[in-house]
Symmetry: C2
Subunit: 227 residues, 2 copies
């Protein structure tokens, strides 16, 4: 008698809904980095009270997507070039760790599923399709890494990475080389060669980072150089 199948459509949980909506809007670039998040304005637009908006904003601040300035409000974080570099440095180590753990007991079936997807990609593949599968693959790795805290941190960091990535959407990268990187990671994982798998993941993240930084250098508008 726990959950009635005819129970009302959904648990409201407005805070979570507002959080997701804001996150999406920020990551997709609808709300631009640097712009202000007015509690009143957002509450008005989303047709909720200030309470869930406040809590959602604070939740976003903890992942770094939003920067809080006491008594002045919340602003969408405007990542600097160093931020992007720091994020990728951290991501590299964390994903290597995930790969290391997964290698101890690789989920064969799903890995083969992803292998097939990436093997069939080439430079004619839609950029958006690659992005989607790439996202799915990495989220899959996070879920399977077996370390609750590592998973949490990776899920946090990926939001910031995506924020940085909005800058580089139309970047002219070679899809094939990214896809190949994934296949290499998967193959070594399936073969149980942990050390090599880590190395391939290292290469893959390095390539992604390089691609983003190249884009940032070519498009300095909106990117802040600190120090």
């Amino acid at each position: 008698m726990k959950n009635n199948p005819l129970s009302p459509a959904r648990n409201p949980d407005l805070r979570q809904i507002v959080y997701e909506k804001l996150k999406e809007a920020i990551v997709e670039g609808i709300i631009r980095p640097g712009s202000k998040l007015s509690e009143i304005e957002l509450a008005d637009k989303l047709a909720v009270s200030r309470t869930p908006v406040r809590e959602a904003i604070r939740q976003l601040a903890q992942t770094g997507l939003v920067t809080l300035t006491p008594r002045r409000g919340a602003y969408v974080t405007l990542p600097t070039k160093k931020d992007a570099e720091d994020l990728y440095e951290l991501r590299r180590d964390l994903e290597k760790m995930a790969v290391r753990n997964i290698c101890l007991n690789p989920p064969e079936h799903k890995l083969k599923h992803f292998r097939q997807i990436f093997e069939n990609m080439d430079d004619s593949t839609e950029h958006s399709e690659y992005l989607k599968e790439d996202q799915d693959f990495h989220l899959f790795l996070y879920k399977e890494c077996g370390n609750k805290y590592l998973r949490k941190m990776l899920n946090n960091i990926i939001d910031m990475i995506n924020l940085c990535r909005t800058y580089s959407v139309e970047s002219d990268v070679k899809i094939s080389s990214f896809a190949k990187g994934h296949v290499e990671v998967i193959d070594t994982l399936l073969a149980g060669d942990c050390e090599k798998a880590e190395g391939f993941m290292d290469d893959h993240i390095a390539l992604t980072k390089q691609s983003l930084l190249k884009f940032l250098e070519e498009h300095p508008e909106g990117v802040v150089y600190d120090e």
Copy 2:
């Protein structure tokens, strides 16, 4: 109509104050793991309204110190043995990363300061004194690591580590070996031997982890074994 001299001498930023107070109470073991955090009760005890308490609790949930159950409230996280293992695994990699970065440009003066402190320690040193200096040293490394996001994560994880550590306060470890580990890290950092420094940090964290796990095995009360 300016400042009433009889205005309440209250510090602003209640949320942060409540957050710190709760964090301390949890990490010090005053509020036991597993116990419930009632918004009303805490608001009452701290003489504030529910709002800052709610926000502080949510902030604590982000670091993992508190576990939120929808519609049922917030509970102080009761770490399992696997939690402790996961935390130390993550901590090891993150601190190695910090050491790697610091090694590129080591802050000589302060490192020497810490070196002296740890060099003068032996098995007769007060356990509490070692704990304090150990804490300070690691926080110092976090601050100097040069990567904003790494710093944030390390500061988060150390709270959870401390929560686990409350169990092992009276652990009968050899202070000298811990202190020696620090000196080794510092010396290799000062010498600019990054690889070795990382290795020594690895050993140091491994030793700390081993000490905690040994304690947990000898004192299974209050520790949950999952899976």
